[in-house]
Subunit: 159 residues, 2 copies
């Protein structure tokens, strides 16, 4: 890959790294306590398997993106990196989508299932989760652009 | 694209079509009622925005896949179709991931948030949801293979 093509890719990876590191840290530090009917109620990310999955995937994405930023871009690895990028993009998409579904439930509840909203009791926790989801969503979108840019480069190489 | 490359792609799309149509229909017909403390309790897919999103995405995937099966494979559309396939794959991944998060909650509940499991009350509903999620997961996996196959074809074309 030529230098003129490496620089936009480096910038995209740097942005993705920033977003996934932010998502991981904001989710890890989400914490709030509330007192309901004398029962102390503690909200933290590790109470939900979905939020734990989010932290895991965003931590993996951070490490992967960091390594790829300094990876020598030999064309022989091009197809492997494209497939790995695709898998990373799908995993980020999956973790954000799952957390948005749970976050929506925390905010609105579901009266059909008898699940009450919890954001009124633990607003600080919900703000953190929202921040983490925005960062994770940005990371997933940047991976979409990384994939588009790789596909574009393949086609211009061919033409 | 040559005929020897078109046939595997046609088969992949046929499988994806079967999976996404099944996912849509199984989710649409998921329904059960229960009586808890003399209150009639009705479970259907439209009670959850996440399940509605799942139906929408799988219906779109069914229509898109059907059209693509009979689309003339001119190479000038190749890059557009690859990008559309990527978007479809990401949307399917997103809808399945979100529903797995909600389904896990329906099965296990979350005692930290005070959300009780509901599958004990409406087992028929939960079985349908499980079936829909398996079909949706299969559709997402097949789209991953469609993307891999397209990328593979691009590289062999180039070499």
């Amino acid at each position: 890959m030529s230098l003129s093509k490496r620089i936009p890719m480096f910038v995209l990876r740097l942005l993705a790294l920033g977003a996934s590191v932010s998502a991981t840290l904001i989710m890890l530090t989400s914490h709030d306590t509330a007192q309901v009917f004398n029962i102390k109620f503690e909200a933290k990310y590790s109470n939900s398997p979905t939020f734990k999955y989010f932290v895991l995937i965003n931590a993996i994405a951070s490490g992967y993106t960091f390594i790829l930023m300094f990876f020598p871009s030999k064309s022989s690895y091009g197809h492997l990196i494209l497939v790995l990028d695709l898998i990373m993009g799908l995993l980020l998409d999956s973790s954000v989508s799952a957390c948005i579904a749970i976050g929506q439930l925390g905010k609105k509840g579901n009266n059909h299932a008898g699940w009450l909203p919890i954001c009124g009791q633990v607003p600080k926790f919900c703000d953190h989760i929202t921040g983490a989801l925005v960062s994770g969503f940005v990371a997933a979108i940047i991976y979409f652009f990384i994939l588009l840019y790789s596909i574009y480069n393949l086609f211009t190489l061919k033409a």
